[in-house]
């Protein structure tokens, strides 16, 4: 219920913010759950919702994003499996970067071996757009300019900053809770695809809340 009403309010704000999205720093996210045997269990793509973001993913190369995101995430698995045995935490933080697409991979590992992988991709390189976005939003936003908050840009601008890692940690923990609930379902066996629309809406809500 809450998610649905939020979605409509975001859609209405898209109407007048749509023009400015190219000038603002909005992160695009691709989140995957992989089983211990590397089977994809769950996928979702979404965008920043903080600071007036519309929550829609806009990847840099939209025509190839669908398979490139999966490729980039899966190619980070080797690094994950190395980090897995040196770091005993569940949240492994930022583990891999794929520079050609400016994609950053953050990993979370459940005790039973499921991997949560989050790819984040800023629309442009943070260094080149930090000034440009500021100019763009101040000159073009006009009345909608009040929605731009300094705090939101700090999360979006730098994928490896402590604020981002903390936000992703909160996101991962919330997804972990839903995942445990899924795993406790007697009709669910480990390695099965997670098809529940309620689970999907929970992940979407967590994304809206923290990212």
């Amino acid at each position: 219920m809450a998610a649905a009403s939020k979605a409509t309010s975001f859609n209405s704000s898209t109407a007048h913010l749509g023009l400015n999205n190219h000038f603002r720093l909005k992160m695009s996210y691709y989140f995957t759950i992989l089983s211990p045997t590397d089977t994809p269990l769950f996928n979702i793509a979404f965008g920043t919702s903080k600071g007036g973001g519309d929550g829609i993913a806009r990847f840099r190369f939209p025509e190839t994003a669908q398979y490139m995101n999966q490729f980039i995430i899966h190619s980070s698995l080797d690094i994950l499996e190395e980090a897995q045995w040196t770091n005993g935490g569940m949240y492994l933080k930022h583990i891999d970067t794929y520079p050609p697409a400016a994609a950053y991979i953050t990993a979370f590992l459940t005790p039973s071996g499921a991997r949560f992988l989050l790819l984040h991709q800023p629309p442009h390189l943070p260094s080149s757009t930090s000034t440009g976005s500021g100019l763009g939003s101040s000159s073009l936003l006009g009345s909608a300019g009040s929605t731009t908050r300094a705090s939101s840009s700090s999360i979006a601008a730098n994928p490896t900053s402590p604020q981002t890692e903390e936000a992703v940690r909160q996101f991962m923990n919330e997804v972990y809770e839903s995942y445990v609930k899924t795993a406790m379902n007697p009709f669910y066996r480990q390695g099965m695809e997670i098809k529940s629309p309620v689970f999907r809406s929970r992940v979407t809500a967590a994304g809206k809340k923290w990212l």
Binding site: G89, E177, V180
Partner: protein
């Protein structure tokens, strides 16, 4: 009262629809109500909207299961496993396989419960009480996790002993002892099946926990009665060679 059959028909109509994530309602049958349209296809949502995702996973204090009902359901499980088995080993294997998926689940639940509540059962056994518990990387940490927190989650007390094999030929063997396993409280095996130990089910749980953590293991339950403890059971944990190799590498790297 009319709600459940309506849900059922809604399922059969909308099953052919698109996959999950369709949040805009499609223009379907005219007589469908708004309430049913807003739900996504393929899942039966309870009419009170309490899905498994709305319930909390923490056990409230003293909300314990009746031992009688557990004994009854476990007795049924043993009877079920005994159908068309060839021997005691086969029966124990089946019990083991029933326990295995439970071990995988318990692992996630155990960590969830110990992260969400600050006063956790996990921290009491480990020397450092850091708030988020770590995944076990070494064999000893894993065995302590089983011996302490897992046993407390299942049976309300820690296991009675944890030993390493003294024989130099089998450095990969560890033993967890339970003097009076709860699963065997109401079970007495017939004379011709005296080798049988129904705690093979618990062995399966242990195996699931070890496997989930990435430690390939074979676990078996053995009767080792003493005068004081007639149903004393030893769980023999045998780690695979790959685990032992990794253990050596981690030891050299100083990982704890």
């Amino acid at each position: 009262m009319a709600a459940p059959p309506r849900h059922a028909t809604m399922l059969s109509i909308s099953n052919g629809g698109t996959a999950q994530g369709t949040d805009r309602p499609q223009t379907q049958q005219a007589h469908q109500q708004v309430q049913t349209q807003s739900q996504s296809p393929g899942l039966r949502v309870p009419s009170n909207r309490k899905t498994i995702y709305d319930r909390h996973l923490n056990r409230s204090r003293n909300a314990e299961l009746s031992r009688a009902s557990f004994a009854f359901i476990f007795g049924e499980m043993v009877t079920y496993a005994q159908r068309r088995v060839t021997g005691i080993q086969d029966l124990e294997k089946r019990l083991n396989e029933q326990g295995y998926p439970l071990g995988l689940r318990l692992l996630d639940l155990l960590f969830y419960r110990s992260t969400s509540t600050s006063t956790s059962a996990l921290t009491s056994s480990s020397s450092t009480s850091s708030s988020p518990p770590n995944r076990p990387l070494r064999i000893i940490t894993l065995l302590h996790l089983i011996h302490g927190p897992l046993w407390r989650l299942l049976f309300g007390r820690a296991a009675d002993a944890l030993e390493h094999s003294v024989s130099p030929d089998t450095p990969n063997e560890y033993m967890i002892t339970d003097n009076d396993p709860m699963v065997n409280t109401y079970i007495s095996a017939p004379r011709d099946m005296s080798m049988l130990n129904c705690a093979a089910y618990v062995a399966g749980i242990i195996e699931g926990v070890c496997d989930g953590c990435g430690f390939e293991t074979k676990v078996s339950a053995h009767n080792q009665p003493t005068d004081l403890w007639p149903s004393r059971t030893v769980f023999l944990v045998r780690f695979g060679s790959a685990v032992m190799e990794r253990e050596k590498v981690l030891e050299r790297a100083g990982v704890k």
